[in-house]
Amino acid sequence: MNVFDIIGPIMIGPSSSHTAGAVRLGRVANKLMDGQTPARLDITLSGSFARTGRGHGTDRALLAGIMGYHSYSEEIRDALAIASGRGIDYRFIRRDIPDTHPNTARVEYVLPNGERGSVQGASIGGGNIRVDLVNDMKVDFNGDSHTLLVMHLDRPGVIASVTNLMRWEYSELNICNFHLSRERKGGNAIMTIEVDSRPPDSLIADIRRLENVTNALLIRRL
């Protein structure tokens, strides 16, 4: 913790958990889509997000994050109109997702080329988030560390090629947490790799070039 965790962050109100945290959850989806504008969004608000989200602007905040805005962007207030203006067909579903944190949201997107994806996570207080599912595969990170998500095919040697790249080309990086999850043997899989220091942007491009890697993204520490 440092002094700017207390005097800060600069954010759009009214609630660090229901507004700022919701923007950050939306931004995870934005990164998954590689910053593209989706054609269609189904956004499920669960628990307290469903019940008090409207008064906290949780819907606007999620949408703003999905469009790539930050928790300090004044555009959050007008996010519904901005999304419509961009031709995004969005809908909000208020439904409790069983066995989840009280402030949980799920974003399902369809890109203009028909590609689909999803993120499910929770805002766990003070603007901090925890991501639970990416493309319905279990991930578990809270944004306290810089986190790499590597989507890949479940083949022998993929983990080694990623960690070897980090070892030999980015030797200052130290992995503090590693989690692997897959749909089924030989199917889609996701590595969640948390690192102590902020990786250079080139790391993501380098990982994306590796064989059997389908996508990689970096979610920076809060």
Binding site: I6, I7, R54, G55, R77
Partner: protein, 293 residues
């Protein structure tokens, strides 16, 4: 390096080196974050600029919260202060009240604010410090340094007791903000590090037990007005400390008591909108007005 585990540690270290707490904390944070002091001061200047913008925008007569339950409080208070020569509080304090209302109202209306330490309590520190800057002519650097003092005391409170309403009730949000602001005010007015600690102790002690009971779960009722009461307690606590009216219980023990009281508070009074004002007939009616049955 400072550990930020006790107010006493910080105040003693500053007194020993003959520094203001803000100066000591700036040196220490620059070292801990491996960044030049000027850069940290620049970041704090940016925070202060956002606070001043929120003070401005929040005085708009037409400002309304997202729910429509609140809005325009700062405008009404400003009009009243102008026609009554500051009302009962006098123009300086009335101006500070207007600023706290403006920032808390900006937060409720989805405007840009600086969490200090939280969004719900974001009006207290700017209400105090922007008033000294604009109405008492205090230079910006002194204000910025005092924000490092406030931040350091906030770090101690966060570590010892927590600063979220869900964890400790409103005492943890507005109580912490008032303790931080009281220390900053005391430092700006030339108080010693020990007096800064005293001011924090008095402010925290005066809000022990304050519950978090927001109507409809929204950061509006009573949060906006509690920013004003927190601000008043910050000013009175700073004045008491500067006058030499020492607290009988030291700051660190007041913060320990805050943690204990927060732990003993029922969940219904910790940001769940299950008790207190939220559970009153009118509170329930207002909730239905916003969210339906």
């Amino acid at each position: 390096m400072l550990k930020y585990e006790s107010i006493r540690e910080i105040a003693d270290a500053a007194a020993e080196k003959g520094l203001r707490i803000g100066e000591l904390v700036l040196h220490d944070q620059a070292e801990a974050m491996e960044q030049p002091e000027e850069e940290l001061l620049g970041r704090m200047r940016e925070n202060f600029a956002v606070m001043r913008q929120a003070v401005e925008s929040g005085q708009n007569r037409d400002l309304r919260s997202m729910s429509g339950l609140t809005g325009g409080e700062a405008y009404l208070m400003k009009q009243y202060a102008a026609r009554s020569e500051g009302g009962l509080c006098g123009s300086f304090l009335a101006g500070a009240v207007v600023r706290a209302l403006a920032v808390a109202g900006t937060n409720a209306a989805m405007g840009r604010i600086v969490a200090a330490p939280t969004a719900g309590s974001c009006g207290i520190l700017p209400g105090c410090l922007v008033s000294l800057y604009e109405d008492r002519g205090v230079d910006e650097r002194t204000i910025l340094l005092s924000m490092f003092t406030a931040g350091a005391f906030g770090m101690v409170i966060a570590a010892k007791a927590g600063i979220s309403g869900a964890q400790g009730g409103c005492q943890a949000e507005c109580g912490s903000a008032a303790g931080m602001a009281a220390a900053a005010l005391t430092e700006v007015m030339g108080g010693t590090p020990g007096q800064c600690a005293d001011a924090c102790a008095i402010a925290v002690a005066c809000q022990l037990g304050l519950v978090c009971d927001p109507v409809a779960g929204l950061v509006e009722i009573p949060c906006i007005k509690r920013n004003v009461s927190g601000l008043m307690i910050a000013f009175s606590s700073a004045d008491l400390a500067l006058a030499g009216v020492a607290p009988k219980i030291p700051a660190d023990e007041c913060i320990d008591a805050m943690r204990e009281v927060g732990g003993a508070m029922p969940v219904s009074l910790k940001e769940t909108a299950g008790g207190g004002l939220a559970a009153t007939p009118t509170g329930q009616k207002l909730r239905e007005q916003v969210f339906g049955e």
